[in-house]
Amino acid sequence: MTTTMTRPGAGTTARHEPPRTGKGPRRQTGRHVMLAGIALLWLVPLLWAVYTSLRPYSDTAKHGYLSWPRSLSLGNFTDAWQQSGMPHFFWNSVLITVPAVLGTLLFSAAVAFFVSRFDFRWNIVLLMLFTAGNLLPAQVLITPLYRLYLLVPLPQWMSDSLLLYNSVWGIIAIHIAYQSGFCTFVLSNYMKTIPKEISEAALVDGAPVWRQFFQIVLPLCRPAFAALATLESIWIYNDFFWPLALIETGDKRPVTSALANLQGQYFTNPNLIAAGALMTAIPTLLVYFALQRQFISGLTIGSGKG
């Protein structure tokens, strides 16, 4: 795997027009009709959720969900926001996501630096250990992890449960440990593309390794960091399973897991649940639309030509 990086833009400049097969414009129209149809079909569930969330419960209860709206409003959003304590859960998500993403990037950068810039014997084993760790199903880890979390004490200022269990630190820790595998894999491939001459020059210059790491290699990896940070933010924010199993009380859970509470509480009000679910998705949608390029290049790193 010399260059597994997908370079956005690399294909667009060098790409040729596909050869015409003689069926030109008609074929293009057909393709557009098909693709537009599929795209629209793909949006239906989302649009339906938006439509449902905008309609007052009383309206849908009276006329059914498949009916023309008498009125549309953001009432369900404000209700879900206020009644279910959404701001609090959003804040929990921020408290988990930000440190987890930063920690994951720092840890995996250190490991990637190690395995890609130095010729130690155990490099491949190390890299495999990290990569494979990320591929283990979460359910395989959960029982021992749960017990482990009950055994690890934390000081009062970190966790009012005095344990790793039921604290945001525990969730941050498992995210960092688990996600480091993927990021290490990506970053080590990226660092391999940085010419070794740069390190050599620095070494001849008498620069210690830590300076090479912080002042030369890390700044050069900025594009990879941008891609991974975008991707990992969405993944970690979206995670559902770890807090469900490792946080006992609902009020410490991040917003995705807290949605389950909402479902239990307002089981009979789909409008409100739709609003809550969509509201949960807003941060990821914003991040995605703002950083689409980074997100996709992060996701597709490693799937380019090997």
């Binding site: 569930p45 359910q139 995705t256």
Partner: protein, 324 residues
């Protein structure tokens, strides 16, 4: 990743004595004590975290699978050898349905959303207008969490208020179908929702691969008189082997790991008839009032072994070239 050509950040200053370069300077022997401490810390902490939070629990699951334990007092762990496995295979009613459903999940995902995603990628990898809009629409579900996807499909499948039954009754059907409650239907309903998300993922992965594809190969195929389908099947697809492997691994892993969406669509109470999956059975056994940790762990090990086959394939494919 745009790869900008890099210039050394620190130019060689004349007052630093040049050492003769007999070997590449990045060899460990050149490292001073400070460097060694830095590297040990830099690798030590992440490695310790990985071993403690990921590999230790994975091995502990393996150990617990040979025991019986209610999950409360550590002193109550009793070694029972292979009993859990024997029980699971012979005397645990939901096990084989779960295995069957996992296999169905895998086959469905591998045979419908995956090829469809590849097909869409191939269609979109041309200079046509609106391609970004199409891509975004189809990829959008992938940005949502599986839990949110579950809630969105809940308001489609709901027997009383859902879109699907609404459409059916508007079309004059008097059938009242409980999409998620009917044990013969619910797995397929969940698979549609999961496929909705999976298609975009595969599409994006394949599109990225196609960008690195040499267009000259396609042109040559066209000159030789190959039509679109022949070009894809005989030229493009075989040449995309690295991407195909990634897609295969993603498909297998996602099928084995499937949890969140089933959990949400099942009402958040563990496995439901018709929707049993290994991941849910594990959760059933380890969380709850009367937990059977040994049992759940044995199930987890079964899932682990199947996963390791996929992980192993991936690692061998990925690292074989480097190992030389």
């Amino acid at each position: 990743m745009s790869s900008t050509p890099v210039t050394p950040a620190a130019p060689v200053t004349p007052d630093v004595p040049h050492r003769p370069r007999t070997r590449p300077p990045t060899r460990p022997r050149r490292l001073g004590p400070g460097d060694r401490i830095f590297l040990t810390v830099a690798i030590g902490i992440p490695l310790a975290a990985l071993l403690f939070f990921v590999w230790l629990p994975a091995l502990a699951s393996l150990g617990l699978s040979f025991t019986t334990w209610d999950g409360i007092d550590l002193a109550d762990i009793h070694w029972i050898g292979l009993d859990n496995y024997q029980q699971i295979f012979t005397n645990y009613p939901p096990f084989w349905p779960a295995v069957r459903h996992n296999v169905i999940w895998l086959l469905f995902t591998a045979l419908l959303p995956t090829p469809f995603g590849i097909f869409l990628a191939y269609q979109l990898d041309r200079k046509i207008r609106f391609t970004r809009i199409y891509q975004t629409a189809i990829f959008l579900p992938m940005v949502l969490s599986l839990a949110v996807v579950g809630f969105i499909w809940e308001i489609i499948y709901n027997p009383d208020t859902g879109l699907l039954n609404g459409l059916l009754s508007a079309a004059g059907s008097s059938h009242h179908i409980d999409w998620l409650g009917n044990a013969d239907l619910n797995l397929w309903a969940v698979l549609v929702a999961s496929g909705w998300r999976h298609t975009g993922y595969i599409m994006i992965l394949y599109l990225a691969g196609l960008k690195g594809f040499d267009p000259a190969l396609k042109e040559a195929a066209a000159l030789d008189g190959a039509n679109g389908r022949q070009t894809f099947l005989r030229v493009v697809f075989p040449a995309m082997k690295p991407v195909n492997i990634i897609i295969l691994v993603v498909t297998v892993m996602e099928s084995l790991r499937a949890f969140d969406i089933v959990y949400v669509l099942g009402g958040g109470v563990g496995s439901k008839p018709g929707m049993e999956l290994l991941s849910l059975l594990i959760t059933d056994n380890i969380i709850g009032e009367s937990s059977h940790i040994g049992y759940g762990s044995a199930l987890a090990v079964v899932l682990l072994l199947v996963s390791l086959a996929a992980i192993g394939t991936f690692l061998v494919q990925t690292f074989r070239k480097e190992d030389q």
